[in-house]
Amino acid sequence: MMGNASAADSKCDRRAARARSWIARTITCGVVASICACGDRNAQRSEIRQSPLGNALDKVVEWHGEIELEENEKVLNVLPYAAVDPHGGFLVWDEQEAQIRQYSPEGRLRGHFGRKGDGPKEFQFPRAAIRRTSGTILAFDTYARGAEFDQAGSAVLRTFRTPVGPLHSALLLDDSLVLLGGQVAGSSGNTAPSRLHVWSLGGNSVRRSFFAPSLPSKVQRLAANTAGFVSADRRGDVIAATFSLRDTIYFFDLQGNPRGQVPMNSQFYRRLSSESPLPSGKGGVVGAREWLGSFSLISNVFWASDDTLIVQYQDRVGTEPKWRLLGLRRDGSRLFEVVDSPYLITVDQANGWLYFVKPGSPTPNFWSRARLRR
């Protein structure tokens, strides 16, 4: 694109590209900064409802001990996300500290790597870490880049770019394919963009893009640009996927072919309707944040070992997410719904463990381990 343009055009193109990139980044910065919300069907400014059962999580799970993640002068858990490490323990990525950590099942710090920056061992906002069967670690930044590290995380084996940014989730399909959740950078306009992408590690290319929930109104497109979270989990050869603005679970096969969908049947999810108002220009950043809190956002879907689908969604109150958990059978029938849940960090599908931030803990380095009650 740059090569056949005049110098002036090239400069203009670069400026335009930078401007587009800046706009895309700044809009999605809201996502990174946001991470929260929840509501009431068709309500434009509905109140957040409290569960009539109060905090009913104890009726849903049984607790099996706690884990304290080790910290030191270089490692502090600020906004950690985690996945169960097939080598044992957890891979933790912290977007605020731009760091990836390896923890033992008991919370002992085995190692850490990464810092803020744009270099090969640096991240802006790390978004996922995946252990390959070979033992190496794939680490993805939010903005269309990443690197593969050796088992210990001490050496960068290669860096790569992906077309997806901002990235919301990454799931290993096999040792050569990764399912990336997010929007292809630069895709915009009125056409609903695909949100899931099968990305080939070897070819460094997207094999297929799919899952394009429609966004019929401006207010929904704006919300999707700001907080278009995508989550996916896999059980066998079926993928379950969610999009932040849809109270529906979508199923696909590993090639991305649709395999049905079920409504979530939530009691408390607040849908952003097409008729909902746009944020008031008079409210500034505070008004924009209040608008973001006027509807719910689906954040994660997990597939538990007993086939229960666990959806974690949020209602934002100010800057803080209030977490809600919804348990569903595969046919969409509701098993439970809990408001004011502690944050569900990850689910170990193989062993049935659920890992929460310890209820009441002011910091996220204390976890509680639980199992769904039968």
């Binding site: 706009i23 980044r25 700044t26 809009i27 999605t28 910065c29 809201g30 990174v32 900064a33 910290e71 030191n72 002068e73 502090l76 600020v78 906004l79 605020q96 500290e97 731009a98 803020k116 906002f125 401006k218 704006l222 640009n225 700001t226 746009l278 944020p279 220009g281 500034g284 950043v285 505070v286 924009a288 944040r289 100010g318 800057t319 803080e320 002011p362 910091t363």
Partner: protein, 172 residues
């Protein structure tokens, strides 16, 4: 309609990553007495924080955290919170594991006291004297920028030792 759409996008973009205004204080100035800040004779830092500063992607909290890990309680932090929704500010500081006290003032009072718009700056203050001002939007190295000023002052007070290094558990 396209223009209206752009305005909304711009608003959210600004909400996400807006740049802060400048600060009127300079090294050598007296830090204006406001709501009990500054307090005491010692060396401390005052972080001026408004909703616009943390309702975006780059908040500066990571820099303040790194500073606190380096100097700990030896250089205590006061957050001078300017504007509405102080409860959001408290939640933000807790979530970002920033350790310090927070004092809330309204925008009008802050402006009249500081004679200018509040900026997202960290002020190193000794007693009531400003030693250095660092605007967080201008750097990613807060601790490194303050170090040349802090270290000699700490030496004069017996030096920085391990007692100044914050116990990470205190951040809880």
């Amino acid at each position: 309609m396209r223009r209206t759409w752009f305005v909304y996008v711009w608003l959210l973009a600004t909400a996400a990553c807006g740049r802060t205004a400048g600060d009127s204080l300079q090294p050598g100035d007296t830090f204006p007495a406001i709501a009990g800040v500054p307090a005491g004779e010692g060396l401390h830092v005052v972080w001026v924080l408004r909703p616009e500063d943390y309702l975006k992607c780059t908040t500066g909290a990571d820099q303040v955290r790194r500073f606190q890990r380096r100097y700990g309680s030896g250089v205590p932090l006061t957050v001078l919170y300017v504007g509405e929704h102080p409860e959001w500010g408290r939640a933000f500081l807790t979530r970002h594991r920033v350790n310090g006290s927070m004092i809330v003032v309204d925008q009008r009072r802050f402006k009249s006291t500081f004679r200018g718009r509040p900026g997202n700056g960290v002020h190193l203050v000794e007693g009531d004297r400003v030693r250095k001002v660092v605007m967080l939007a201008d750097t990613s190295e807060l601790a490194e920028m303050l170090e040349p000023v802090i270290e000699p002052l700490l030496v004069g007070r017996g030096g920085r030792d391990s007692s100044n290094i914050i116990n990470i558990k205190e951040l809880r």
